[in-house]
Amino acid sequence: MKGRYTVLVVEQNGDYLGRILVAFVKASPRVCVSIAVDEADARRYLVAEGLHADDDEFPLPQLVVLDLDNESASGLDLLAWLKRNPQLARIPVLVLAVPGCPKIEQAFSLGANSWLPKTDDDKAILEMAQAVGVYAMLLQSHPEKAGASSLSAIGRPAACNCVNSSESSGPSRGL
């Protein structure tokens, strides 16, 4: 995985997810996009649980792109959980939402790092994917500080410490 960067995209809408994936392939070929289809799936990924237990296949992401544009509040719940967790809190979270969405301000209050305007314009999605890819690269690859503070050195939290009991039946690892 050397020279590649992982971005976890949390997106419930299959169509929109497809457009994001195409944009990353075109604009940021060195980015491995991991997918979580909802909050619970994202939690399992981040604690390397169940299907996501293989660290090589599902590495800790450099950053998370979280779509807030859904009916439930689960995106904000995931953000709050992640920022409360000392081993995950340093992972930047970029929230995806339409301009004016009230959840944006809530997300900032919960510790979101940036807001990405959600759009139907494929050109803008491509631009966003390029920017996110570059940002992920910079997070991982400071020429002098790599290893000292890179996210890969953080390690993952134990599943039993940070997910609901119903979700934490699998073994924890990667500590």
Partner: protein
């Protein structure tokens, strides 16, 4: 973060601006002096809660602008409050309280407005800056909230100042969130045109062709709850918050560029931003 799009020097009622002047006392005196001078020329009354040294510097700036502070004081158009003494009167058990604030400052504000009911009032306060300097950011934010509460009852504009360096470690989201939430505008830092250019050059020099992609992320970050601010300050906050491994070297380089620009151009002051 809100990007500054409208003029920061519109000091109309309900406008609550903040200036971060670092250690540049000369800049503070010039900007506040101009704010006060503009007010006097418009027929506004002025309330200045400042340290003795700063009050003297503001008076000198008014004189440079052809205005006489003593005359304004004698006419009841300019009221000075000693910042340290006023602050101590606002405090109880080490924290400001609304009751004490309202008794101390609210009373003066209402008196001035009653005497000059049909003109505006411009206030300048650095009690918050004193609290910040003493390491009590929480108390400073409480005091800002009291000012806003008072502005909800009485119409006036307010100018606050903090000795914070925008290139320094204090200037970051976690530290400044409360201050940015309690103001309407963050005044652009001294050499703002230069600051924007300096930041842009520093990002290009450190990040190379990756800088453009980051600008996409930076420009979309509007925080409705924050004071409006210029692109340069917004960029610094974004870098501090999101790219800490690079922010120190980018900001050190940008500071160098700004200082070099300052040597060749003495441009500055809030009117020129």
């Amino acid at each position: 973060m809100s990007s500054h799009r409208d003029s920061p020097d519109s000091h109309g009622p309900k406008v609550h601006v903040v200036e971060l002047f670092g250690d540049n006392e000369q800049l503070l005196a010039r900007n506040v002096g101009r704010y006060l001078g503009d007010g006097l020329r418009r027929g506004d009354s002025l309330l200045v809660a400042a340290t003795t040294d700063h009050a003297a510097a503001f008076c000198r700036q008014l004189e440079l602008e052809g205005l006489n502070a003593e005359t304004a004081v004698a006419a009841g158009r300019l009221v000075f409050l000693n910042a340290e003494k006023t602050l101590s009167r606002c405090m109880a058990n080490g924290q400001p309280t609304w009751e004490r604030f309202d008794d101390t400052i609210g009373t003066v504000v209402r008196d001035i407005r009653a005497k000059n009911g049909h003109t505006g009032l411009r206030a300048y306060g650095e009690l918050v800056g004193l609290l910040w300097k003493a390491g009590d950011a929480g108390a400073a934010v409480s005091l800002e909230q009291y000012w806003n509460r008072l502005m909800g009852h009485v119409e006036f504009s307010l100018y606050c100042a903090y000795p914070i360096d925008v290139f320094g470690n204090e200037f970051q989201v976690t530290t400044l969130d409360g201050i940015l939430r309690t103001h309407t505008h963050l005044l652009p830092t001294r050499w703002n045109g230069d600051l924007r250019l300096a930041m842009s050059h520093a990002m290009d020099e450190i990040l190379g062709d990756k800088a453009d992609a980051l600008r996409f992320l930076i420009k979309t970050n509007f925080r409705a709850a924050w004071a409006k601010m210029s692109d340069a300050e917004a960029t610094i906050l974004w870098l501090r918050n999101n790219l800490p491994d690079y922010s120190d070297e980018i900001l050190a380089l940008a500071r160098q560029h700004c200082e070099q620009a300052c040597l060749t151009s003495r441009a500055g002051g809030y009117k020129q931003q």
